[in-house]
């Protein structure tokens, strides 16, 4: 590959070829090694003979530990063969004879480098038949009770790993945890071995006769045992020894019996045997089968490697400790602080925290963060609501102020138009007076021209209405009502305003051109406010032409529309606006004329914006300025709604 790197750029084909070549090489190397070792390796055969069945937990554990720890002895590979005598279930002599024949035939074609007796029955069996079976093979034992080794002289020179069944230490442990206990129940089965264990225990527990009321539940049928167990009072200590067979002769698995006992007992159960650990006992004093298996493998390896078996055996022992089931202690509420030092607590269910500190920290961090976010959001929403309320309130105030300002502007405008308005009102009044005087004269004449009198009276009525109409317009501009939205025809509103404003403009010598789009769509708005804007713009235009040549005094009022907007433009031939004026023309208090307060256009802008429209000014190419007002065309729905 480095060669490829040195070459730099290579074709994909080249790369693939090189890769496949190196792959082939790396695969072939180990297979070559295996082939070599197979040809030269020396195999040592270890036969383990267990007293009991292959599924016995103790056997499973020990066998596993042996296989894990006895792989090679020096350069030799170790093959471990496991055999099970199953003596608890097949205790007759024929079975053992058959087993012997079987083993003899089975191992006839190979040498046995080490023989391990797993259990007392197996050791007895192998000691009896060793000469005929494996005469040259060294023998060692595993998991034999220390009492047996100590009492049997024939075993003194045999290497092996001893196992102590220690009911006393277990009871001491129970006492430490339950210092107030006064009753002790000792459970054992009906098999020979069960009986042996019971006898041993009974012997050693006599020392506690004063301290405890001791009851032995021995050799009972399972049902009866369980019945008796139910009657065990709370606060007692239950010591479970062994239960390989019940009083009905039924072969049982001790751990399974233990489980049933533990389920029914109102008092904590303790056990002396390490396979009970985890199956319902609070704890006990024993070595673990893991340690026993490991030690057996260690001793076996030493023997295979040529060490002195007895010497090696003297230094080989599995550590014996108080073993406790954390779950059971929790269940019974036993205080861990009372445990003698050196006690081992197993099956501790790690709290989620102990198991997943990182994830929990992360989760808590996330939760805290999320909570903080949620709180922040809630607070923010709350603030926003408050702000919204305040905004609405201030908007309402602003709206009211705007309305009031608009009204003031209208009244001011009306004031500016007062001469014109007076003229407009005077016209019909003047006509009325003349017609009335004419009518009086006509009535005095003889013959009376009644038709002419009627015509005069008709005209009087019309002119009265006309005067009233003008006053209504003035009054409505000055009204103080809330703005309302209704469909409006912009052309109509412009005409209406022109009736008020045109006379004034004309007095100033201004010609007003009207270019109306007859197909103008309706808009929605407040009639008075729209009229006010038009009025402001017309007066503005008229005033802009105060100082210009009479020939160029004109205002063109134009309405147009497109798909989205209705537009009003008011063009004048006045002095026009400079660029900075165009920018500031809608600012409050900005005025270009003496005596103006500069509110008209500012108010017009706020009115148009409240109608969702737009108002702007442009400078004409030749002279004067044009003001543009744009209203959105409402959807037909909006119009229909308003029309209802």
């Amino acid at each position: 590959m480095s060669e490829i790197k040195r070459r730099g750029l290579v074709s994909p084909f080249r790369f693939l070829a090189a890769a496949s070549a190196s792959l082939t090489l790396s695969l072939s190397l180990p297979s070559l090694g295996v082939a070599q070792s197979v040809g030269t390796v020396n195999v040592k055969n270890v036969v383990v003979v267990y007293s009991h069945e292959s599924v016995l937990p103790a056997n499973v554990i020990v066998d596993r530990m042996l296989r894990e720890n006895m792989r090679f002895a020096g350069a030799s590979r170790i093959d471990v063969y496991s055999e099970y005598l199953d003596t608890a279930r097949f205790s007759n002599a024929e079975h053992l004879d058959g087993s012997m024949t079987y083993l003899k035939e089975k191992y006839s074609d190979r040498s046995v480098d080490l023989l391990i007796a797993g259990g007392l029955e197996s050791l007895d069996f192998l000691l009896s038949h060793r000469d005929s079976l494996f005469p040259d093979s060294p023998l060692m034992y595993s998991c034999i009770e220390s009492e047996r080794i100590a009492t049997d002289k024939s075993l003194a020179n045999l290497p092996g790993v001893q196992m102590r069944v220690d009911p006393v230490s277990t009871l001491e442990l129970a006492k430490a945890l339950q210092p107030d206990a006064k009753r002790l129940f000792v459970i054992s089965g009906a098999s020979n071995r069960d009986h042996v264990w019971k006898m041993k225990a009974q012997d050693r527990l006599t020392a506690y006769r004063r301290e405890f009321q001791i009851e032995y539940l021995s050799g009972l049928p399972l049902e009866e045992l369980l019945q008796r167990v139910r009657q065990i009072p709370a606060g007692a200590i239950v010591l479970f020894l062994l239960y390989m067979q019940d009083g009905d002769g039924q072969y049982l698995s001790s751990p399974e019996v233990l489980q049933q006992v533990a389920e029914r007992s109102a008092a904590p159960v303790y056990g002396v045997y390490n396979t009970f650990h985890g199956n319902g006992i609070v704890g006990g004093h024993f070595a673990t089968f893991e340690d026993l298996g490991k030690e057996t493998a260690e001793l076996g390896l030493q023997i295979l490697n040529g060490a002195d078996p007895i010497e090696a055996s003297a230094f080989t022992y599995a550590p014996v400790n108080n073993h406790l089931d954390w779950r059971q202690m929790q269940l019974w509420g036993l205080n861990q602080s009372r445990l003698p030092s050196g006690s081992v607590v197993d099956f501790r269910e790690l709290s989620a925290w102990e198991r997943y500190p990182g994830r929990i920290v992360a989760a808590i961090t996330i939760i805290v963060f999320q909570t903080a976010m949620i709180v922040a959001l809630v607070v923010q929403i709350r603030h926003r609501r408050i702000a919204e309320r305040l905004r609405l309130a201030s908007q309402q105030i602003a709206q009211r102020q705007r309305d009031e300002l608009a009204r003031v502007n209208r009244i001011t405008t009306i004031g500016e138009l007062s001469t014109s308005i007076a003229h407009e009102v005077n016209q019909p009044l003047s006509a009325i007076v003349s017609n009335a005087q004419a009518a009086i004269r006509l009535l005095r004449q003889s013959p009376t021209d009644t038709e002419e009198v009627a015509a005069a009276l008709h005209d009087i009525a019309n002119d009265g209405n006309r005067a009233a109409g003008i006053l209504n317009r003035v009054r409505s501009l000055a009204r103080k009502e809330q703005p309302i939205s209704e469909p409006l025809e912009l052309n109509e509103e412009v005409r209406e305003v022109l009736r008020l404003a045109a006379p004034d403009a004309e007095n100033r010598g201004v010609v007003i051109n009207q270019e109306f789009d007859d197909a103008l769509p309706s808009i929605i708005g407040d009639r008075i406010e729209i009229q006010q804007v038009i009025l402001n713009l017309l007066i503005n235009a008229a005033q802009a032409m105060q100082d210009v040549n009479p020939e160029s005094r004109y205002i063109t009022v134009r309405t147009t529309h497109d798909a989205r907007f209705v537009q009003l433009t008011i063009e004048d031939g006045g002095v026009g606006l400079a660029d900075d004026q165009l920018r500031r023309i809608f600012d409050p208090f900005f005025t270009t004329r003496r005596g103006g307060i500069g509110m008209g256009l500012s108010i017009s802008q706020s009115i148009i914006e409240s109608h969702e429209g737009k108002i702007w000014a442009t400078q004409n190419a030749d002279r004067g300025a044009t003001f543009h007002v744009r209203f959105p065309i409402p959807s037909s729905d909006a119009l229909d709604l308003r029309n209802v």
């Binding site: 005077n426 006509a431 009325i432």
Partner: protein, 208 residues
């Protein structure tokens, strides 16, 4: 009282005001013609009748004052009565200075309107009469021979026949004949009458 053909011209852009004024004037027996604009009035082919103009000051296009100016420029002596709203004082001053008969604030009191219109018409009639008299005198003066005109001027200057004869180097009886012809041609009843006519015609002896 004004003659049948006396006409009041009402010029007002406001139709109802125009018609109301017309009706009022008609109700006192005046002949009325109405126009909606000053231009309309100017373009109208009018008969040379006595009358007056009732004119609104404020009108789009040609204003009342503009019309007054145009009429003055064209030596039309039609008297003008202006109507206007209150407050047009500068405008009324201008109008009166330019020869307006009256300036009536609206709404116009009918008595004042009729009085103003009547005065205006009377004034027009008077004016027309004066004009007519003057042109008559001038026509008579035109009919005199140069010698008769010389005699007339010396008579008006107050010279005796003998003085006139010596001044013109003619015989005294000849002066008497010219004098009789002048009196006849001019239609004068007396020397005083003759002097008044010459004064009216221009205040000085017409140049031969």
């Amino acid at each position: 009282m004004p003659s049948e053909l006396t006409t009041v011209y009402v010029v007002d852009d406001d139709e109802s005001v125009r018609n109301a004024k017309a009706r009022l004037l008609k109700s006192v027996g005046l002949r009325v013609e109405v126009f909606s604009s000053a231009r309309g009035f100017l373009d109208h082919d009018r008969a040379d009748n006595p009358g007056c103009l009732l004119l609104d000051v404020r009108m789009p296009g040609l204003s009342g004052l503009d019309l007054q100016q145009e009429l003055a420029d064209s030596k039309n002596d039609l008297p003008i009565v202006f109507m206007s709203a209150h407050g047009d004082i500068p405008m009324s001053v201008r109008a009166i200075k330019a020869g307006a008969v009256d300036f009536l604030p609206k709404p116009v009191n009918d008595q004042e309107l009729l009085k103003a219109v009547g005065q205006a018409i009377d004034r027009h009639i008077l004016l027309r009469r004066k004009h007519r008299e003057l042109s008559d005198i001038r026509a008579r003066l035109e009919s005199l021979t140069p010698r008769e005109r010389e005699v007339l001027m010396l008579v008006v200057d107050g010279l005796m026949n003998k003085q006139i004869a010596s001044r013109l180097s003619i015989a005294q009886p000849t002066v008497k004949v010219h004098r009789r012809h002048v009196m006849e041609k001019m239609g004068a009843d007396s020397i005083t009458d003759l002097v008044r006519m010459v004064e009216k015609s221009g205040g000085s002896t017409p140049k031969g």
